[in-house]
């Protein structure tokens, strides 16, 4: 009997999400393999490989300009919207490549949601309409009662229900900055994403809103995998299970220098550059 040796390209990072069937419900695992990014001819990211396990919170840390946000945008196919932007490598959700056509791009974006740095509720919609806007936009149909339940549950998860339950008819932009961002989080949750990408969601907010959002992150992380870019190291320590430290040397594309459990990155980093960064010696 011959031993069939199936040689397949081995991912460079051992993927703990080796799920061969792509489950479209519940928290999903994302895997990035050797991702590189270009804006035109300029290479801004190189050799980025990262495993973002389901149900975990992964933080991307590092000084500004290292490509963290660019990497984040490759994870839900927003990077390609920039004219002249290209990328290399592969990105898998539950083991399925998101770029080579197996999953329609609108489905990719529905399953991998995003919360942006600047809150952007839709101005022409009320608070309630904003929450369920994702349903209309991605073509999901629900009954009226399902929709009402969804509004309440998403706003509750985002920690906003009590504050706006009597203001559901106000325009989305009538809320304060922190409330708007929580509204955007509720909006993203309404389409039942498997992964939620957050690009410095608290950087423009006051400490109270920041705290509430961090609470939300810990409450939903079991059912939604979270990848968060943050400049705030204390925040990374508070919310994340794993961290990846990005760095770009001058005129060089960004790379992951070190990644691992948060505790280890901050208390026992192996690379001297990581140690310098987490101790505040630059950044």
């Amino acid at each position: 009997m011959t031993n069939l040796q199936i040689t397949t390209p081995i991912p460079t990072v051992a993927s703990s999400t080796a799920v061969l069937a792509d489950d479209t419900r519940g928290a999903a695992g994302l895997t990035a393999n050797n991702v590189a990014c270009w804006f035109g001819a300029k290479k801004v990211l190189e050799g980025v490989s990262l495993d973002m396990a389901p149900g975990q919170v992964t933080a991307l840390i590092g000084p500004s300009g290292c490509g963290k946000s660019t990497f984040l945008r490759t994870l839900n196919r927003m990077h390609e919207l920039v004219p002249g932007a290209t990328l290399g490598g592969e990105i898998l959700i539950n083991g399925v490549d998101i770029y080579r056509g197996a999953i329609p791009v609108t489905d990719v974006r529905r399953r991998i949601g995003m919360v942006f740095q600047k809150p952007n509720p839709f101005p022409a919609m009320t608070v309630a309409e904003n929450v369920v806007s994702g349903l209309k936009l991605s073509g999901m149909k629900v009954t009226k009662s399902e929709r009402d339940d969804l509004i309440e549950s998403c706003l509750s998860k985002a920690g906003l229900w009590n504050e706006v339950k009597n203001r559901l008819g106000d325009p989305g932009r009538a809320l304060s900055g922190g409330q708007q961002q929580r509204l955007c989080i509720a909006r993203s949750l309404a389409v039942s994403p498997q992964v939620l990408l957050m690009d410095e969601p608290c950087s423009a907010l006051d400490p109270t809103s920041t705290r509430r959002i961090e609470q939300t992150i810990s409450e939903i992380s079991e059912s939604v995998t979270i990848v968060i870019v943050t400049h705030n190291m204390q925040q990374a320590q508070r919310v994340s299970d794993r961290c990846a430290f990005f760095l770009a040397a001058e005129n060089e594309p960004g790379r992951i220098i070190e990644e691992g459990p948060t505790k280890d990155i901050f208390t026992n980093p192996r690379d001297s550059r990581t140690e310098d960064y987490v101790n505040g010696r630059f950044g």
């Binding site: 390209p9 050797n34 390609e80 490598g89 770029y99 329609p104 790379r255 280890d264 980093p269």
Partner: protein
């Protein structure tokens, strides 16, 4: 344990660039198709218009040859010569008179709105200027003809009597300087057209002045400058592109003004230096007055003239946009 990226590790996954597969849904494809169709229709229609004008115009130019530029008279229908050697200078002189009055007033008005007026009034004043732009040129023409012209010609007479040594204000000796010599002149037409040009210039300049960097303003004031100092040293230099661009845009408008000019002037085909003496013309007025009595050839000739006007206006407008865009104030301002 953290893992540190090791560049020596063999990367088996290819780094070749990915072409993301974008399969658009049927709805999206239909949407894009409709939008593209609309754009194509507009493109084709506008290209057709330009092409038709060119085609008929060239027909006429074939008949007139270079005489189109040198000939003053306009008699294409009787096989006579026709040319814009008189009409074009008249068009330009009306526009220049209009600009001469409109530009200083527009600069003052724009400065007034952005610098001198109480802040609460700013929206109201801007709305008033926009309203001035919305009033039909017909109304301006009527008011100019019935109200302003009788009063303006006394000024024309004064200019002819006292400054007659300047060629612009000279009056042919045979005519004398009774009031009847002065209506329907370039000067009167120019004054009326300036009223229509002012809102356009003011809008552009106001937008540009409003964008003068507050940092520089504060710097000037912190040095003890007066409001005029801030205007002279910060706002006006910054807004130079807007002043020039706005004026050029106004020039384009003045060149193309039809109705007010048609109502006021009495057509003349002998170009002259004097702007106060009666008799004037403009390409637009020529078309308006001559079209009904023109044969095929005549229409072609009018098209050639119209094409000339169109091309000149196009050049002026394009130059205006690029001046504004290239200036410091430029890119945020829409012309």
């Amino acid at each position: 344990m953290t893992s540190v990226a090791d560049v020596s590790e063999v990367n088996l996954v290819d780094e070749t660039r990915v072409s993301p597969v974008v399969r658009r849904s049927k709805v999206d494809r239909a949407y894009r198709a409709v939008a593209t169709l609309s754009g194509s229709i507009v493109f084709v229609v506008m290209a057709l218009i330009g092409g038709f004008l060119l085609y008929r115009g060239i027909d006429a130019l074939r008949i007139s040859g270079w005489g189109f530029i040198t000939e003053s008279q306009w008699a294409p229908d009787m096989g006579g010569a026709f040319g814009i050697a008189a009409v074009l200078p008249y068009t330009i002189s009306i526009a220049l008179v209009a600009l001469f009055l409109a530009v200083p007033i527009s600069v003052a008005t724009a400065l007034f709105i952005t610098e001198y007026a109480p802040r609460r009034l700013r929206r109201f004043l801007t709305a008033t200027i926009d309203l001035l732009a919305a009033v039909p040129s017909l109304i301006y023409g009527l008011w100019g003809l019935f109200y302003l012209q009788p009063r303006l010609i006394t000024l024309s007479k004064w200019l002819a009597d006292n400054l007659g040594f300047i060629p612009f204000f000279e009056v042919n000796e045979d005519f004398g300087t009774s009031l009847g010599v002065f209506p329907s002149s370039t000067f009167v037409a120019g004054v009326i057209v300036s009223l229509m040009v002012i809102p356009i210039c003011t809008s552009v300049m106001r937008e540009v002045f409003g964008q003068a960097p507050p940092g520089e303003r504060e710097g000037a004031m912190a040095l003890g400058g007066t409001r005029w100092g801030v205007v002279r040293d910060v706002v006006l230099p910054f807004g130079r592109g807007g002043i020039i661009g706005g004026s050029m845009l106004g020039l384009g408008r003045a060149l193309g003004e039809t109705i007010a000019v048609t109502l006021i002037i009495s057509p003349s085909f002998d170009a002259k230096w004097s702007i106060v003496e009666q008799g004037s013309n403009s390409i637009a007025a020529l078309i308006a007055l001559k079209f009904s009595e023109s044969t095929e050839t005549g229409i072609s000739a009018l098209m050639a003239a119209g094409l000339a006007l169109f091309v000149i206006t196009l050049i002026v407008n394009t130059a205006a946009s690029s001046v504004v865009n290239r200036s410091r104030s430029g890119s945020a301002t829409e012309i």
